[in-house]
Amino acid sequence: MEAFRTPPGYFETLPDRIVARRRARTVRTLSWAAAAVAACGAVVVLVPQMLERERACETFACLLDATRTEELLHDDLLEELAEDPAAFEVLTEDL
């Protein structure tokens, strides 16, 4: 005879408790995995954007956008500067 006993009904409920515990763990694991995937996705999307922002401007429009100076310039002057490489160079030196 076994010396060790169990509470009454223990083996009748054990399979349900094991299945429930396994499911709960699977859900927790999936939640962690989803959070990890989301974090990786954010890195993949944001890092290129940050690098792009730091890259030097190669166009006049980009330069204006980056330095927030367009509101200071008259529309006509903007067009003139855009068509005049020399003026563009002078402007970038000032900035």
Binding site: E2, L14, P15, I18
Partner: protein
């Protein structure tokens, strides 16, 4: 190779999640009692055995697709159960105790355990087992109570047969010393 039960095939190559759960429940129904007794002998009390037995079956569910039948399924499951019991013991490890001190503590705990029905001889036997160092305890329980051959234990645990025999010999000597010290207990 020994023919494997139908539910093992379903667990390893599931046809649907419902069928897999049904197979998992069949596996639990087949092994829950021997696995429980195995970890209870290693851990002593019901609460720890309950925790270890649940962790054992969750691990079996996770790993069964990799079971290739190098060891019999029963020995493979018992090896997982033994590791879960050892993990639990490691988490609850207290200061090192002498064998005599550990035996006294285990004997006192069994005497107060509402789910222990053994007489004085059974209590001495199980207290001596619980006082064994963890590895010796695992080998002793698998060999003495489950009567697993050394070859099966070796295949399931990855320990050589020679090392298993040495562990069992040391464990059996310690257990014998305490059990035979009791009055009216035959050697």
């Amino acid at each position: 190779m020994v023919p494997q039960p139908v539910w093992l095939e379903e667990l390893q190559h599931p046809t649907s999640s419902a069928a897999r759960e049904q197979a998992f429940r069949a596996l639990i129904a087949e092994y829950q009692r021997p696995v429980y007794q195995h970890v209870r002998r290693m851990l002593g009390n019901h609460a720890d055995a309950d925790d270890a037995v649940q962790e054992t079956f969750i691990q079996v569910h996770r790993s069964v697709s990799g079971f290739r039948g190098e060891a019999p399924l029963r020995a493979w499951i018992f090896a997982i159960a033994g590791r879960k019991a050892l993990d639990l013991l490691a988490r609850r490890r207290v200061r090192e105790r002498s064998f005599d001190e550990a035996f006294e503590q285990a004997s006192t705990a069994l005497a107060a355990d509402p789910y222990f029905d053994g007489d004085a001889a059974a209590r001495a036997l199980h207290a001596a087992v619980l006082a064994l160092p963890e590895r010796q305890r695992q080998v002793f329980v698998l060999r003495y109570f489950e009567a697993l051959p050394y070859a099966e234990i070796a295949a399931a645990t990855g320990v050589t047969e020679g090392a298993l025999k040495a562990s069992y010999h040391h464990a059996a000597e310690k257990v014998r010393r305490f059990v035979t010290a009791l009055p009216n207990v035959p050697d």
